[in-house]
């Protein structure tokens, strides 16, 4: 009877073992597990789960195909809407999206949609990915700025529609946050690479080492013959707290800490040329997914103690529940209602301690969360060797600064229509974190998808003129 049995647990590496290395923590379902989990789906006539999916996957459809033991069909249904299923199956916050709406979840545990998505995507990868049918080739050219989740999704969808798509990536490897930000143990880079290879096979030209705003501006791309431009440059500007001592050695932004580790493979130093230095006691400031990634990475780089320092309480932590649990299992310690007010260092400028202040919770603030109020006189000092500041990222200003006429928000994000990604400039669209501020992979993908649709409409309207 569907729904009556509990959801099949995800096999994962033992915490004591896994924190010694960077191999993937969650191991994935076997075919038997997937079949059993798929049997829990009610195959609702009016599926609520689909409404919770930013990229509109036919969820009951692909789960039914698993039950029918037609995995090729399941993969086809997934790929019809989602160009990066192996990524989404791993990093989407399903518990607040599709699975939050699952009818089975009302009385019991929802169907494990994310785990099933991952199972199908991994199965397909092992078989060798097949390419979808593409629309006949069109003459029109689209430039995509940034190859993160938003840019890759827009690129893939536009290529499927027959457009000539070029993606410009600033770093030496495409993938954006999927490559530099999310750690190997949560999202293996070989998997991201294969998803990117798939997008290349769709005919998308990806150019790396290409910083738009430097080698060419958006306007120069338009003048060069691109008919439309999509900006998906993400939230690439690390926030600091601007407190005394924050520039001491050993205090990294989360972006630097994770980029050195993930993109540059500093955990294989000196075989790989990029170093990273991690002391015995590491403090990560913030409690979002990036903070959890940093705290768990620190353990893998040899930290004996890894702390999450957060000024609110557990209930307000923005990270996914699963990430918090994984961090806790691995031994990450949580210092809540606490925040640094200053750092102190030695004569070489290396951080040696932080001054922490205690907080209590007051009335809910604009975000709806109870606001943290510092307790006067509660400051105390704690010895620390390494600090990672993970309190969010702002929009990278390189593209906005070099694109005249682009209307920005007060925070410097690009103003764009939520449904179409249309900016204040004709022919220029934007989506993902550069518009919304730091959010999730899947929301960026949703924005890329909607923008692709709007760009298609816009380019068709040009043809009629």
């Amino acid at each position: 009877m569907p729904g009556k049995i509990g959801r099949v647990p995800m096999p994962s590496q033992d915490p004591a073992e896994r924190k010694k290395g960077f191999s993937e923590v969650a191991l994935g379902y076997t075919a038997e597990m997937a079949a059993q989990e798929a049997s829990r789906c009610l195959n609702c006539k009016v599926p609520q789960c689909v409404k919770g999916c930013p990229v509109e996957i036919n969820i009951p459809g692909f789960i039914k195909a698993i039950s029918d033991n037609d995995l090729a069909q399941a993969a086809k249904i997934l790929k019809d809407k989602n160009n990066l299923p192996a990524v989404c199956g791993r990093v989407c916050p399903q518990e607040s999206q599709c699975e939050a709406k699952c009818i089975v979840g009302i009385k019991g545990e929802p169907v494990a949609i994310g785990r099933l998505e991952r199972f199908v995507a991994d199965w397909e990868r092992e078989q060798g990915v097949s390419l979808p049918e593409k629309a006949p080739g069109k003459e029109q050219k689209v430039a995509i700025v940034g190859s993160g989740p938003a840019g890759l999704t827009a690129a893939a969808d536009l290529a499927k529609l027959g457009y000539q798509v070029t993606v410009f990536e600033a770093l030496h490897t495409p993938g954006g946050v999927l490559m530099y930000g999310i750690p190997e143990f949560r999202l293996p880079k070989a998997i991201v690479q294969q998803e990117i290879d798939y997008i290349r096979q769709l005919g998308v030209d990806i150019q790396v080492d290409a910083v738009v705003g430097k080698f060419a501006s958006v306007d120069e791309l338009l003048a060069e013959g691109y008919d439309a431009v999509f900006i998906g440059t993400g939230a690439g500007l690390p926030n600091f707290m601007n407190i005394p001592g924050e520039n001491l050695n050993g205090i990294y932004s989360a972006n630097e800490f994770l980029t050195r580790t993930n993109l540059m493979k500093a955990y294989q130093f000196p075989e790989y040329g990029t170093p990273i230095k991690v002391g015995k006691r590491v403090a990560v400031i913030g409690a979002g997914n990036v903070a959890m990634d940093a705290a768990r990475t620190a353990l893998r780089l040899g930290a004996e103690e890894s702390y999450i320092i957060y000024r609110r309480s557990e209930a307000e932590m923005p990270a996914r529940h699963e990430e918090i649990e994984h961090a806790r299992e691995e031994g990450v310690q949580f210092k809540l209602l606490t925040s640094p007010v200053a750092y102190k260092g030695d004569e070489n400028g290396n951080v040696t301690s932080m001054v922490l202040q205690r907080f209590e919770l007051g009335e809910p603030d604009a975000s709806g969360r109870r606001s943290p109020i510092p307790i006067p006189g509660s400051e105390y000092e704690q010895k620390i060797d390494t600090v990672v500041v993970a309190i969010g990222q702002g929009p990278n200003p390189l593209v906005p600064r070099t694109t005249p006429g682009l209307v920005l928000t007060r925070k410097g994000n690009i103003q764009a229509d939520e449904e179409t990604g249309q900016t204040s400039r004709e022919g220029i669209f934007a989506g993902g974190d550069i518009v919304t501020g730091a959010a999730t992979v899947i929301l960026a993908m949703g924005a890329g998808k909607r923008a692709a649709r709007a760009i298609d409409k816009y380019l068709q309207s040009l043809c009629k003129d």
């Binding site: 980029t259 130093f269 230095k277």
Partner: protein
């Protein structure tokens, strides 16, 4: 892949590469830099653009061997390739007609000062250039600098060429007889600090070009934080040029030393395993 079309060994441990990089050459301006990643396992390192030719689509890099990455880079020959090169990065020098300007290049800093002097000369300034090094063997580009300067002065620590002493000594003499509006100084951090100190009380604006530790070079990581006045700036996107009188030199020096032990370790690894002569597998 970026092809090296010319390699010169300018002095001991000092190399020049002219590299095919049309996209960068097309946009490069004086004062900007690029980031190089030599191969799949290499670090990303920032190098200032010493020259560029829009016609040929090439840029010229001059670098000193200071660690494993630059040592490995110096082993490449003309005809070989660099895997990744990205740029032009950073804000170009603010070039206008200031009147009389002084351009100071110390050691490998002679390379990046060259296009700045050229641009300033082109804008109508009277350009006095001062180049210096420990000894004459480490000096280079005398003719190139002379061609873009109204006057070229030389200093060496040991007196083997030009005036015996530091570039700051020469600068002090220049400032005694010339009405100088603005100064650019590029070279070792300690030289830039000394120049800035020498000009501070005279109130002559002194621009320095910082080369801190960087990773992405696009403002994403904040490794290159520098204290400028009361603010923290990112050298990669806000710089690399800053007002030398505002720079927190102590912080800059400390931050530049953070990975010193790892640099040593990397060099040892390179000497043991680099250059195709790895002996670790012989065991």
């Amino acid at each position: 892949m970026f092809s090296i079309v010319r390699k010169e060994n300018l002095a001991a441990n000092l190399y020049l590469f002219e590299v095919e990089a049309g996209r960068i050459a097309g946009k490069a301006e004086a004062g900007q830099f690029i980031i190089v990643r030599q191969d799949e396992k290499a670090e990303r390192i920032p190098l200032t653009i010493a020259d560029f030719s829009r016609e040929k689509g090439t840029i010229t890099l001059i670098f000193q061997v200071v660690g494993a990455s630059t040592s490995k880079l110096s082993e490449l020959e003309a005809g070989e390739h660099i895997l990744d090169m990205v740029g032009p990065l950073g804000v170009p020098s603010e070039i206008e007609n200031y009147g009389t300007v002084v351009c100071i290049g110390g050691g490998v800093g002679i390379a990046p000062i060259h296009p700045i002097a050229r641009a300033l000369k082109g804008a109508g300034n009277r350009v006095i250039s001062i180049i210096g090094a420990r000894n004459k063997e480490l000096l280079f580009w005398r003719e190139e600098m002379r061609a873009v300067s109204d006057e070229l002065l030389i200093a060496t620590d040991d007196g083997s060429e030009g005036r015996k002493g530091f570039v700051t000594d020469v600068l002090k003499e220049v400032l005694e007889k010339e009405e100088v509006t603005q100064i650019w100084a590029i070279g070792p951090m300690i030289m830039m600090k000394n120049v800035a100190e020498a000009t501070k009380e005279k109130g002559i604006k002194t621009i320095v070009s910082l080369n801190p530790i960087m990773v992405d070079g696009t403002g994403m990581c904040g490794a290159c934080r520098v204290g400028v006045g009361e603010e923290t700036k990112f050298a990669c996107v806000d710089g690399p040029e800053f007002d030398g009188h505002q720079v927190d030199w102590e912080l800059a020096l400390q931050r530049s030393r953070f990975f010193r032990a790892e640099e040593q370790q990397s060099m040892e690894h390179h000497q043991r395993c680099g250059g195709g002569a790895c002996r670790c597998r012989e065991k």
